[in-house]
């Protein structure tokens, strides 16, 4: 591409995008995009970011460390973490089964993995709560042993296990199916046990996908509302999740409080993302 000469007569660097501007519609498509993104995402999020400070920074801190809010953030954090960990194991196992074995009903199982994505959260919420309530199909069984699932943190955990499963399976599945057969076979020929092959050959390969699936599942769990509130029972300090406290604060017209809880949730999500990124870099450095 020849360099152009500007009006002043100096040579200016050719801009690469000049070439692609052959296709029309740049300003209109970018205009529509920026309009939507500004009106629907950026400005509303600015409203969120600017709200908590009306009682000063201490007002924000006071809200987050208010006993009830702090308890809710802690419950949300722990249940999401635990559910994402369980899904880490089960998700890899199911992805493995779907990629490596042929069995009747495989396509059906594969399609149904996405059910938690497709099913509206309110529907999953009432269905889970009906199953795990003390008189429900599963709940009555555990009730015999004095274990309460619905209306306790265990219920929140179960709902988040349901909602998080597809994130891990769908992250790991494509990577697993793209693995080269030779590497595994080499490990086997060299006398590695299946478990050794998995730990030293397969696990490192799927690790990045695993970590990103984990962080997606965790973030979803932190913010999940519909599938949780029915089964949780929403007892303050015991089974009240952070998103519900936003609703509670809004009902009290405490906008700054609601925005503070929202920002608290975002901070926790970003912190987890940050930690997982560091973990990923650590593994990458170790050459795994």
């Amino acid at each position: 591409m020849p360099a152009e000469i500007s009006k002043e007569g100096n040579f200016i660097k050719p801009k690469t995008f000049r070439r692609t501007r052959i296709i029309p519609g740049f300003s209109i498509s970018l205009g529509i995009t920026i309009f939507f993104v500004s009106v629907i995402v950026i400005i509303p999020l600015l409203a969120l970011l600017m709200r908590p400070w009306e009682n000063g920074f201490s007002g924000f801190i006071d809200t987050l460390f208010d006993k009830r809010v702090f308890a809710a953030l802690k419950i949300s954090f722990l249940c999401s973490l635990l559910a994402a960990l369980v899904n880490l194991f089960v998700g890899v196992l199911i992805a493995w089964v779907l990629v490596r074995y042929d069995f009747p009903g495989k396509r059906l199982v594969d399609a149904f993995i996405d059910m938690p994505f497709a099913l509206p959260t309110a529907v999953s919420g009432i269905a889970l709560s009906a199953i795990y309530a003390p008189n429900g199909w599963v709940g009555s069984f555990f009730n015999n042993f004095g274990i309460k699932i619905a209306y306790s943190p265990i219920g929140i955990f179960i709902a988040l296990v349901f909602i998080g499963l597809p994130f891990i399976v769908r992250s790991v599945q494509p990577v697993l199916s793209e693995l080269e057969a030779e590497v595994e076979e080499a490990a086997e020929t060299l006398g590695a046990s299946p478990l050794q092959t998995f730990n030293h050959v397969i696990l490192p390969a799927i690790m990045p996908a695993l970590l990103s699936g984990f962080s997606l599942a965790f973030a979803r769990g932190m913010g999940e509302y519909g599938s949780v509130i029915f089964i949780a029972g929403n007892i303050p300090y015991v089974s009240e999740i952070a998103p519900l406290l936003i609703v509670v604060k809004l009902e009290e017209y405490d906008y700054a409080g609601a925005a503070s809880v929202g920002i608290g949730m975002l901070i926790i999500s970003f912190a987890i993302l940050f930690v997982l990124n560091l973990t990923q870099q650590y593994f990458a450095k170790k050459g795994l």
């Binding site: 052959i22 409203a47 042929d102």
Partner: protein, 281 residues
């Protein structure tokens, strides 16, 4: 490069793994679905059908369809425009734009509702102005539409951007060079190439728009017959111990989920090459 082929189970460990997968899917996925059907038909078919005679439920269904009908075309316009801008041109800030488009995926639905209350609620940025001019946004249709838009914004764009990026611009450039107008290029070249991916995105967007609960719940105010969408109607009925009503209405949404998954699966089998790479099986 050779990939390991799927095999029939042989050893005990193979069977154990497969059986565990089936057990888990049954417990976590199938049981809730069964529970919806069981509870909806607990009182027999006539009682179930009464759900559809309930005016509150029908108003909720109508509102849900109305919101979806408003949100879908807007999402299609945004999805196509953003994919066109991002994959056909170079400009500063593209990466940031991409992250912003993805952002709604990682927001809690409750936060996606909250932001609109902070903007248009009684004590929000524009609260006083709206009150002075007697315009209802929160606890009314516009709020529900805005909350649903925020939640669903990435769906169509996310399907189109990777695909149009893969397809490249050669065909379009050729058409322009031969004198085709912008609209001709779009309707005769781009659209035929992306139609299945567009349908895929629209499908996911529709399912989410009709099923959205958290974001809509925050802005709706749960006014019966006026601002209750179908998912909100389910909540109200359930909290009033109207089990059959709640689960009966839920069967509509379960049906929707099944249709969504079925079409999605068919698209992934039949038109895998014309979807973005992440959906090719």
């Amino acid at each position: 490069m050779r990939r390991k082929a799927a095999k029939r189970p042989e050893k005990l460990t193979d069977y154990t793994l497969i059986i565990f997968a089936f057990f888990w899917m049954a417990l976590i996925i199938f049981l809730p679905l069964m529970s919806v059907l069981f509870n909806a038909f607990k009182g027999g078919l006539p009682k179930y059908l009464e759900t559809f005679a309930d005016p509150d439920a029908m108003d909720a269904l109508k509102l849900t369809l109305l919101v979806t009908a408003i949100v879908l075309p807007l999402n299609i316009i945004f999805g196509i425009a953003s994919a066109w801008a991002i994959t056909r041109f170079e400009f500063v800030g593209k990466t940031i734009l991409l992250s912003i488009i993805d952002l709604p995926f990682s927001l809690s639905p409750v936060i996606s509702g909250l932001v609109w209350v902070l903007m248009f609620g009684a004590q929000g940025w524009f609260g006083e102005f709206l009150q002075a001019h007697d315009i209802d946004v929160i606890y009314a249709l516009p709020g529900i539409v805005l909350a649903t838009l925020l939640v669903t914004l990435p769906f169509v764009a996310r399907e189109l951007i990777p695909l149009m990026d893969d397809n490249g611009t050669d065909e379009e450039v050729a058409a322009v060079t031969l004198g085709a107008s912008g609209w001709d290029v779009f309707f005769r070249i781009t659209l035929p190439n992306i139609k299945w991916a567009l349908l895929y995105g629209v499908l996911l967007c529709m399912a989410r728009a009709m099923g959205e609960f958290g974001a809509v719940s925050v802005v709706s105010g749960h006014i019966r017959g006026l601002t209750n969408t179908l998912p909100l109607h389910i909540e109200v009925a359930y909290n009033e111990y109207n089990t059959i009503g709640a689960f009966g209405a839920a069967t509509i949404l379960v049906g929707l989920a099944f249709v969504t998954l079925a079409i999605k699966t068919i698209l992934e089998w039949r038109y895998a090459d014309e979807l973005s790479a992440q959906h090719r099986h």
